[in-house]
Symmetry: C2
Subunit: 447 residues, 2 copies
């Protein structure tokens, strides 16, 4: 089961609304903004990701003949609409924060300016693409800050929510500063470094554990990582000490071992001691097995000799916060600002810009969300990325995006770098924005 690349990957109501708009000629310019309403309790900031996939989606947006035929056969839509749909393309403008930019609630990270039916039709998949990678990059950024330069590898494909999720999580975590992934196809598609060790089943398939190690070492002498915890971790470490001279004689050296269960702090210490005594000082120790923020922090704080982490489920499902409360909302139509006032979900009208200010130490100190044309001090975070349906600049490399993330994370205020969500960050709403919101409400009351 793989997800076909189809414009039908959307909510039915988008098509129903598009039909109603087109029937009435409601093709005025609409402005929609994508933003996160509030942070999950365990996040102090978010890291924008997914823009490249969003741009690719918009550039190629089209209903195939086959899609149109199926819609016709469904009986849900009129022929006139389907004819219009067949030739519909996305021809709008897009402004966005580059991937790898830190952001906060109520700050739009993407703005679409397009004829209303186009801007509406792309909503569902656009959210789907921006939400997920932003979710995972934001989670991965926590691990990157916690790991303090220890190696981080994504092991999460098996429990990711489908195939796309595994691939996009590999990309998003690499953007945030992970060193690589175990997912082969992600390595291929995105040119992300690949890491692979061995599984318990390999050890189990042999009658003798040392024999399994030797067989694997012979087959994969380079970047050799052996798994120690199938039966008894310390006993396995001692077997490696015994085995090493035979491997060395054949020019094979063990790069690292992986511990996947038990008390990882205690075991890393005892394995380190066994290795150091046995002349295996160069063999690194990697930890895996249900690791998340708390376990990683405990290992780092303990000073235990763990050189890297393999992280699966907690990363690729963002397990403590598997969704962000995000939205894509109409803020202007046909030249007039719009807002909704649904209880607890009010939005602010107009085309917005986010301005970021930095202190004398180079760290971010406050953001201002204002109307686009307001003159506000600070660095503008939203940049034009598409005009009339076309990408404005060539795609950045993942290396460029990683560098931006790294700088973004380095410039976070210290309490947020320490991953303390309680610290908060000052986001101000520019004066003219609140005035506009009041004016929109007054106009609606007068109607």
């Amino acid at each position: 089961m793989n997800c076909p690349d189809s414009a039908l990957l959307t909510d039915l109501y988008q098509l129903k609304m598009a039909e109603a708009y087109l029937a009435r000629g409601e093709q005025g310019t609409a402005v929609f903004e994508f933003f996160v309403r509030r942070l999950p309790p365990t996040r102090g900031f978010l890291l924008a990701a997914g823009l490249e996939q969003a741009i690719a989606f918009l550039e190629s947006y089209a209903f195939s003949r086959d899609d149109i035929d199926w819609l016709a056969s469904s009986g849900m839509f009129g022929a006139a609409f389907l004819e219009q749909l067949a030739s519909l393309r996305f021809a709008g403008d897009v402004h966005a924060m580059p991937e790898g930019t830190v952001f906060f609630p109520d700050e739009p990270i993407l703005r679409v300016t397009a004829p209303l039916p186009q801007a509406q039709l792309v909503e569902t998949r656009l959210i789907n693409l921006l939400h997920f990678q932003t979710l995972i990059a934001s989670k991965a950024a926590r691990h990157v800050l916690l790991a303090q330069n220890r190696q981080l590898v994504d092991f999460g494909l098996r429990r990711a929510h489908g195939g796309d999720a595994g691939l996009l999580a590999a990309r998003a975590s690499y953007i945030a500063g992970y060193d690589g992934t175990a997912t082969v196809l992600a390595g291929r598609l995105f040119d992300i470094p690949l890491f692979g060790t061995m599984a318990h089943s390999f050890v189990q398939a042999f009658d003798d554990e040392a024999e399994a190690f030797e067989a694997f070492a012979e087959s994969h002498p380079e970047d050799l990582v052996l798994l120690l915890d199938t039966y008894d971790t310390e006993a396995a470490a001692r077997k490696l000490v015994t085995l090493t001279p035979r491997l060395r004689a054949r020019g094979i050296s063990i790069k690292a071992v992986r511990l996947d269960s038990g008390d990882l702090i205690a075991l890393s210490r005892s394995v380190r001691a066994i290795f150091d005594e046995g002349g295996l000082r160069d063999v690194a120790i990697l930890a895996s097995g249900g690791l998340d923020d708390a376990e990683m922090r405990a290992i780092v704080d303990s000073g235990g000799p763990v050189d890297g982490f393999g992280v699966g489920t907690s990363l690729t499902t963002s397990i403590d916060a598997p969704a962000l409360d995000c939205a894509y909302k109409l803020t202007e139509y046909a030249g007039r600002p719009r807002r909704k006032r649904s209880i607890g979900k009010e939005t602010l009208p107009g085309r917005k810009q986010v301005w970021r200010r930095f202190g004398p130490d180079g760290r971010m100190c406050a953001d201002v969300v204002s109307l686009e044309d307001d003159a506000v001090a600070g660095e503008a975070q939203l940049q034009p990325v598409m005009r009339a349906g076309k990408r404005l600049l060539p795609p950045p490399t993942l290396g460029d995006i990683r560098a931006r993330s790294k700088e973004s994370l380095a410039r976070l205020p210290e309490p947020l770098r320490a991953l303390d969500p309680a610290a908060g960050y000052h986001v101000e709403r520019g004066g003219s924005l609140l005035t506009l919101a009041r004016n929109v409400d007054r106009r609606r009351r007068e109607v």
Copy 2:
């Protein structure tokens, strides 16, 4: 970004292990079983799903020329292995619980019997496919039991983890008893009923809310559902009462309204009262907006006049438990039972069967996990589904699977139907299974 259908959608270590196996001629018959180790705290049972996608994956398992060329160019593998890989197909046997079967921890829901390299190579994607749909079907089953026959519709594509996740969540929730989905492509691919209403942006795009309602009604007179909470829910309900005679004159009737924010219990009551007084007794009230178990239970318990639920994020991310602690483990190789004893992750050896016993009331009362050949009273839950790489029976319809789920849920013991995880369920390990485990340990100690 869509997930290409490639055998490279796997972990690197699977390929490394396969190379080592093939280099040594380790092609004996391996038995792997997929099971869940423990229930999340908020689940009392699980519902098996994803088998059809798993079978389709195994039946078509192959590395394309393009995959092989890329692997060769990566320099990570030898030419002899890549040649073997190019012709490798899955030719094993599979036993499984049918989709829509309730199951519990330590009960295998799928068993693969195949030459070791094949059984190993398919691990990652097999887990990825079985885990996610089982996760979502199990979550959806809670909603189905809670909703007590109110309509349930999946609205979750936008915050699902990628495109596959949205499609497969629509399928898994429909299996569990949801009435349908908003995801058009899921409707097309799986023949699931589609539901669509309207968004706030539609209302916002018009200067007047009533004008927006009328425009939408004219465009989509059938199955008309209007969204009431863009500005003021009760005011919108009164506007509909005023509008109704004009719509009726044109033969248009409102089927339902949707409330998406605020105090849904209080608002459903006041909207119901406005409608009943205004002659709109037939108009149903649907609730949506961040609903999960607790909100759904509160609405149902309140007796509030809510006729159906649109559920998004909580369903498609299984938000309270976004992953299951599941595994695919080697239990036999080359005729000898195997187990791992990693701390906290011990497995039981041998080919297993799950036997289910029912009480005089027709409800399930206990399961026994035994070795396949043990004579145990009860209904065997694992059935042969593939032989020598080929599917044994034509795929069941989703209707068949839904019927099985419905029966499964109806036969749950009452405390589990009441969604009380504390109640537990009795799963016994058959005597010969524990004896075998002890014997495997003894044999290993003797080695």
